[in-house]
Amino acid sequence: MTGSRRAPRARRAPRAWRFRLPPGLWRWVIVLAFAVLLAFPFLWMAITSFKQTTDLYNIKNNPFLFNLPPTLDHLRLLFNETLFLRWLLNTAGAGALVVLITLLLGLPAAYALARLTGRWGQRLGIGIFLTYLIPPTLLFIPMSRVVALLGLQDSLWSIIVVYPTFTLPFSIWLLMGFFKSVPRELEDAAMVDGLTRFQAFVQLVIPVSLSGILTVVIFSFTLVTQEFVYALTFISSAKNQTVSVGVPIYLVRGDVYYWGSLMAACLIASLPVAVMYNLFLDRFVAGFTVGAVK
């Protein structure tokens, strides 16, 4: 033991450097600022949805306060007098079918690229992925002709058939990454035990990759709900529209938007997807970077 002799304390950093906030506080400032900037519009949507119209359109009122008591009128109007519910159902139904097609075509394709094709499989994977870069805004004009040719114009079937063109490349890329991370020994053991490779794929690889597949489902569905150009171009009647196009285009009489109902619709259409997305984000990033790195 060194006894009671006090060792001299080292000199602290000079005063000039102390003007900065401790790093923890900086982080909170930044995080708060960004969170407000990014999420405020949605808060605004929420407030608008419940404000009475006279309150809403009174420029003398403080918009952040409920100067008149909140109301459910906008919601009532939205669900009873507009096609909003119909649009939600359209989008959900079309989305489900698109996801189905994506899985049916994408699962085998991703497995083939991950396991069965060697070096040119990697190249093909990248090629598939690059088709994701071909935007709808390049293809939508000729695509409208193709849709008309198939007799699918003004029908949800047009987008059910066309949407997999962008959900597939993306999903195959993600699934490739997930399948690659499944150890080969799993299928090898199954084949030694007597299964064919395809059986091993269906009975073993798919169940093992379930959370990855679920991630792909969520993200494909998100892509479906977000799409705008194709739906706007192919579908002309309001009752066949999706939420993404119906809400901003049809919730208007002449030049006047029904802002209260409109904002309610935006919020209802955005939040559930956001919650699901957030739950699966980590897996998405993992799949994305695995695919990118290998």
């Binding site: 075509l105 394709a109 870069l133 002709r145 997999p164 709900t225 956001a274």
Partner: protein, 293 residues
């Protein structure tokens, strides 16, 4: 690799390949064909017209404006996004209480359908009822009757479009940069700390260079998503005022679908291709280089 496996692989892969080749490849070829043809919404036949469509399109001032705007909006938005995403990713790097909730809030602009986010902004920037203007007036930053016409005045409208694009892309880029940031082994910043580097030196000389590939990926995706998007412009301004916010895709829509001249629309959208090819090439370069490392 066994022969059986090769056949199985091909069989499992071909359906998806055909689907994509058919529904992407064919329209892609058609896009080029239309741009050099005389197709309209109602027409039946096809005649080759050479570069006539391109000539007429290039003569239109509105088109030239749209071309320029496309670049301005993309570059402007991406600059804001890359800097913002860097800052936010650094702030979110280490776990803290409430990080999950922050992440959910932060993701909203990206996850919400583009059109709905855009229409939300349209309400927030409304010429009479804008909450943004109300706040600015209250903070005495603008005079009550001088409040900015965010969507009505050309320069402000362009700024609004850029900002809404940036708002939407920020979460996406942040998530990607965050992944890149957490991929840096913990040892490296610690070694830099022991070596005597402060925060800024570590960030600019060690962290950022190590994140270059991932920043490139975020940037390239961001460029594609912004450059080829027509939704924000369509919802916010319909290309106005006076065509000052039109971009190539929105102009293609107006000319091709609303205007009826598919050939003209196709010609306009063909101008997207050079940028896309450039981006694809850049992405392949980045992918190749990170594999080597």
């Amino acid at each position: 690799m066994r022969q059986h496996d090769r056949w199985l692989g091909a069989a499992m892969f071909v359906p998806a390949l055909l689907y994509i080749a058919g529904l992407v490849g064919v329209p892609l070829i058609l896009a080029f064909l239309y741009s050099v043809g005389d197709v309209t919404v109602g027409s039946v036949g096809y005649h080759f017209v050479g570069l006539a469509n391109f000539r007429s399109v290039l003569e239109s001032a509105a088109f030239r404006g749209a071309l320029v705007h496309s670049f301005i909006f993309t570059i402007g938005a991406q600059l804001i996004v890359i800097v913002g995403a860097n800052i936010l990713a650094l702030a979110l790097r280490h776990p803290f209480r409430g990080r999950g909730l922050v992440r959910l809030l932060m993701l909203l602009p990206w996850v919400a359908p583009i059109s709905l986010g855009a229409i939300g902004w349209k309400w927030m920037l409304d010429s009479i009822y804008s909450v943004v203007n109300w706040a600015l007036v209250r903070l005495h930053l603008v005079k009550p009757f001088d409040a900015p016409m965010w969507l009505g005045e050309p320069k402000l409208a362009m700024l609004s479009v850029i900002l809404v694009h940036a708002w939407r892309m920020l979460p996406f880029s942040t998530v990607i940069l965050l992944a890149g940031l957490t991929a840096i082994p913990r040892d490296i910043p610690e070694a830099a700390a022991v070596d005597g580097a402060g925060f800024w030196r570590t960030h600019f000389e060690i962290t950022l260079p190590m994140m270059k590939p991932i920043i490139a990926v975020a940037l390239l995706f961001g460029i594609v998503f912004t450059f080829t998007d027509m939704t924000v412009v369509y919802i916010l301004t319909r290309g106005g005022p006076y065509d000052s916010t039109h971009v190539l895709p929105s102009y293609a829509f107006f000319a091709g679908i609303l205007g009826g001249s598919l050939a003209e629309g196709a010609a306009v959208s063909v101008f997207l291709v050079p940028i896309l090819v450039l981006v694809a090439w850049a992405m392949l370069r980045v992918a190749h280089r990170t594999e080597v490392v």
